[in-house]
Amino acid sequence: MQTADLANMSDKLMLSTVVLYIVAVVAYAADLGFGRRRQPAAVVRTEAKVLVGADGPDETVTEVVAAPPAEDDRRRIDWARLAVVLNVLGWAAHLGVILSRGLAAHRWPWGNMYEFLTAIAFAAVTAYLVVLARYKARFLGAFVMVAAVIALGVANIWLYDSVGPVTPALNSYWIAIHVTAAIIATGSFTVAGAATIMYLLKSRREAAGPIPEQSVWSRVPGVEALDRLALRVTTFAFPIWTAAIVMGAIWADEAWGRYWGWDPKETWSFVTWIAYAAFLHARATAGWKGRKAAVLSLVAFACLIFNFFGVNYMFSGLHSYA
């Protein structure tokens, strides 16, 4: 295929990705709002409904009367499955966006802010799917996918850039290593951030009183599980972030003649690293566990976001590729 065709395909796939993700968000929200119960009590209720429904056809009734079971069926749409299927389809389209973009440009497809943000969103969705498969963390779906949709929206509306070559400074095999590590770490931190926000919301809700069986919160696991999930994802991402910084330093040494020069990007990567290190330490210290540590984790995530947007658009530095 021609470069132009591939670039065009990448843009079209981007549209499909965004649409699939938005529908997935709706399905996740529906699942949280009125999906199947997780509690045993809820399961019994569903079974009761099935029995009622099964009774229906036995009776000889008119079509008008037959309507309620049909409506009942519709209400029992498996939102969770729908959401996950759409999510995986969207993920595949997203992968296609990145691959076709890379093929069109004949290089690693993270050479400008549009591509970088697209890749970070992809990493976040991938991290979420991994967490979904390993820990059944479907409750995170709505949050992570909203974040992904926002990221892709920002990428397309404000950061879009057509396919092109990179500046000579970026023309190095380090882009494949350093930037990839930064993307994976950022995507994972996003999932950890979503779990932490859920943790804070849930712990507030729990403190307010008992959670009714029907509420959204009954579908979110306990604070301890959320806390551990956030920690687990952070412990995965932290060494990768460390490696991204170190590899960035090695690259900086090759490109700019020094491995550390307190460029705004370097400074904020360092600040982010320190903040996550503080979170990990706090998490292991009794007096700082729980809420305090969660707030620390969100502060660290805020630093990470600022490092992406603030540093590239507010300051002029060596990392200003916008």
Partner: protein, 596 residues
């Protein structure tokens, strides 16, 4: 200290996790043996020292400094302290921007300067924070290292009395004798690389020392990184040179445009190499909406390691520095250097050469520069010039712009001045700016002209002429020597390896006790304790130990696994240290300091 005390009070209020002696209950002594290995505990909140004298106070201060809380606060202060450097211009990176800031904020700037906010990373307060942090780190890591080595050599702690009370436990019966079971357990655990010790009717084992080792390695590597940074700053140097095509540079102090030596660097240590820039080539995208974007730069250079050695050739590119005798040479920037010949009022050639112009726009390389001709007679001459590498008129035809960074149709616009350049005053002048315009330097009437290469412009008042001979390019090179580079790399790699090890390896203990039951069979109790979340290994050990003892009414292994996220993989050191509910311990390793 006031701040620390508030933090202290806060932490005291919010430490419900800490077991009080009452909660620990009567089993405290037994549980002491099963305390989670190497778990971290918060600062010991003993009563404030009273009447303990200066040494007591020092010890108290040292203990405070090495607590986790102090380390956390210091970590945060480092992060906070680094932030102003991204909002305010820094002398180390952009001294010219600091000057501009001073002009724009006349009242504020001196105050900011008083707090070293334009040199954040050289500021005394910043140094104070990170030195305290690293002292705190060392004060924590070194004793822990000693304790860890002792623990690695010591026997695994003896089996607690009641193994079923442990987080992981299993009980089964078998027809083998207790001795057989214990011998088998020993062999099995050894094979699984546990360190094994035999007690009375029981086997104790422990493994996963690498986790703590990785943790310590990580922190020591950070110390090493800081040390390397210091070595580089002290013994290294860096300098910038601007080289025009055809010109040469010898590595001596006088030839640098900018030179920053480390405090302990002596200029005799400059490697005696020399280089010549033969040619510089920039490639740009020619088509599409990316037209004009640079795609490749390379500088052909010839260099000699020493004045007497043979000359070699190198193609210097971005991302491909040249290393000569422990010194590295980098291609940093480039621009145009138009060549001019200036004749003075007497017809003498007063200047001939290529003048580096500064690019104003990286996409079009529209550049500006000045030509100073102090040797012109009778008046000194000066020219301010703008260069458009590919000149074209704007659509309204009123302005000239450069539409491409390559030199497809170079045009310069010249404005002539005469008078006194002010070079004799002794004040340093920028080579890119004219000083005293309108005062000592008077614009020449009708002295403006657009010129193409080869054109000569006679100044209308007869004070001279200028010829635009052609276009050369210049490159800026960065030269540096950093002896801390390799140590820093090694320290960084060790830090990454350390942090990964500490997150993935968990210290765990397994005890096996076998005792004869009344019916001639043997009851086997297996207990396991893991720092952090339990691993599935315990179940594997139990399964292997049970072996052929089918039919026995054994209870299932009880590894607590929570519903959603309870699968093993939690790597937090000390995460569940309150699990055992004990705060004292028997092993030396069980008394770590309170932070990582």
């Amino acid at each position: 200290m006031a701040e620390t005390d508030t933090e202290r009070a806060k932490a005291e209020k919010t430490t419900p996790d800490e077991p009080t002696p009452d909660q620990a209950g009567p089993d405290r002594v037994e549980e002491a043996a099963t305390a989670t290995p190497a778990g971290r505990r918060p600062a010991e909140e003993g009563p404030r020292p009273r009447g303990i004298g200066p040494i007591g106070w020092l010890r108290w201060a040292w203990r405070q400094l090495t607590t986790m809380r102090t380390a956390l606060i210091l970590l945060f202060m480092v992060a906070l302290g680094a932030i102003p450097s991204s909002f305010l211009p820094q002398r180390a990176q952009a001294p010219e921007k600091v000057d501009v800031y001073f002009q724009q904020h006349k009242a504020l700037a001196p105050w900011l300067d008083r707090f070293s906010l334009f040199d954040v990373f050289a500021a005394p307060w910043f140094a104070a924070i990170y030195i305290l942090l690293f002292v705190s780190l060392a004060g924590c890591v070194v004793p822990r290292l000693v304790k860890h080595f002792q623990a690695m050599r010591a026997q695994p702690p003896a089996a607690p009395r009641n193994l079923t009370r442990l987080p992981q436990s299993a009980t089964f019966e078998t027809s083998r004798t207790p001795d057989e079971v214990l011998a088998e357990a020993k062999a099995l655990l050894r094979k699984r690389r546990f360190r094994v010790a035999e007690g009375k009717g029981a086997v104790a084992s422990e493994k996963g020392y690498a986790g703590e080792l990785g943790n310590l390695l990580f922190h020591l590597a950070l110390l090493g990184l800081l040390f390397s940074l210091g070595v580089g700053n002290l013994f290294g140097y860096r300098g910038d040179v601007l080289l025009r095509e055809g010109s040469s540079f010898a590595n001596t102090l006088a030839q640098y445009d900018q030179f920053k030596p480390g405090r302990a660097f002596s200029t005799n240590e400059l490697a005696p190499f020399s280089i010549t820039l033969d040619d510089f080539q920039a490639k740009y995208e020619l088509k599409g909406d990316k037209r004009g974007q640079a795609t490749d730069f390379h500088a052909s250079i010839t260099y000699r390691d020493t004045p007497t050695s043979a000359s070699k050739h190198y193609n210097l590119k971005v991302n491909h520095p040249l290393e000569i005798g422990g010194t590295k040479l980098y291609l940093l920037g480039h621009g145009y250097a138009p060549q001019f010949t200036v004749r003075d009022g007497k017809g003498q050639v007063a200047y001939r050469g290529a003048v580096p112009f500064l690019p104003q726009n990286s996409r079009t390389l529209q550049s500006e520069g000045v030509i100073k001709v102090p040797d012109a007679q009778p008046d000194q001459l000066a020219f301010y010039a703008i260069l458009w590498p590919t000149a074209t008129a704007t659509t309204d035809g009123k302005q000239i712009i450069s539409e491409f960074p390559g030199a497809l149709r170079p045009v310069v616009s010249i404005v002539g001045f005469k008078g006194d350049l002010g070079l004799d005053s002794g004040n340093a002048q920028s080579v890119y700016q004219l000083e005293g315009i309108g005062k000592t330097l008077i614009p020449i009437k009708g002295g403006e002209k657009l010129m193409e290469p080869g054109e000569t412009f006679k100044l209308p008042d007869g004070s001279g002429s200028i010829t635009f001979d052609g276009l050369k390019e210049w490159t800026s090179l960065s030269v540096n020597h950093d002896p801390g580079r390799m140590p820093a790399l090694i320290a960084a790699v060790l830090a990454i390896l350390g942090v990964i090890t500490s997150f993935t390896v968990r210290r765990r203990r397994v005890w096996v006790r076998a005792s004869a039951a009344e019916d001639g069979r043997t009851v086997v109790h297996v207990g396991g304790l893991t720092l952090g979340n339990p691993t599935p290994e315990f179940d594997d050990v139990v399964t292997a130990l049970r072996g052929d003892s089918q039919g026995s009414d054994a209870s299932e292994p009880t590894t607590p696994v929570s519903e959603e996220t309870g699968t093993p993989g939690d790597a937090s050191p000390g995460d569940k240290s309150e699990q055992s509910g004990a705060e004292t311990s028997t092993s030396a390793a069980d008394d770590p300091s309170d932070k990582e």
